[in-house]
Amino acid sequence: MSATRVVEEWTLEPLEHFVTESGARLTLLMTPAGQVLAQHGFTRAVDVMAAAALGAAVFSSSGEIAYLLGDTEFATVHHGGARHGIFLGGFTMPHGRLLALVVYGDDTTIGLVQLFFDELVRALAAVAPRQERQRPVLAADFERELNDSLASLFGR
């Protein structure tokens, strides 16, 4: 079974290509608010939710630093560790901003991740729906939609 699961079907092929080429171990595609569109490599829902929330927070925090420096935001943020690194990249799709969180190991490099991230953005832009369906956010629907998303992401 593929380790890539998506809520938004159009993200599947570009994401699978990105993971194969970049050597990424874990990848999340999400909104800046941390709502997950697709994931690769995660096996537990709680990990996805924590990574999405923390990744979105890191990107948002770094954006504030960029703002202090007179920039609108940092296009990408990279944290290098001894065995793993994380890469956060923001990009704009026709229906809004998205964020990619990539965890990679010592079998690839930040240069390769960045290179294929640029390709991922181009590939997503080519297949993204032009306009997102406008839906009212109702508290009554929230839990059901959350459960639907988690079911899509973990095949349950």
Partner: protein, 116 residues
């Protein structure tokens, strides 16, 4: 980057057929310094050259031929050469099919001696 190394990169690019030279972090695949002609995709070359060097290093180890001193990739439309430099960096040159590989190699080895 020291001026000395910048000059060394410039000397490599003056070799016939060379389209650009880069100093790349072997671990990150990111450019440390470059002297590139327009049209050369520096970040892509840096990332993929670092990946290639890493894999070739594994092959060299498996074949028991020691550490890599010089890599020469001959494509249908051009040439890529890589020389490991100091402090975990790689010196990479990209050229057309007419690139003078021998002279480029000499300049690259000279450049490695002055690398920071």
């Amino acid at each position: 980057m020291s001026d000395r190394f910048g000059e060394a990169l410039d000397r490599i690019t003056r070799v016939g057929g060379v389209l650009g030279a880069l100093l790349v972090s072997a671990e990150d695949g990111l450019i440390v310094s470059d002297a590139l002609m327009e049209g050369v995709r520096g970040p892509a070359v840096a990332a993929l050259a670092a990946s290639l060097a890493r894999r070739c290093g594994l092959v060299a180890g498996a074949a028991d031929v020691g550490v890599i001193r010089f890599l020469h990739l001959q494509g249908t439309d051009g040439i890529l050469t890589i020389v490991p430099a100091r402090e975990g960096t790689l010196l990479v040159s990209v050229g057309s099919s007419e690139m003078n590989v021998g002279l480029a190699r000499l300049e690259m080895l000279r450049a490695v001696e002055v690398a920071p």
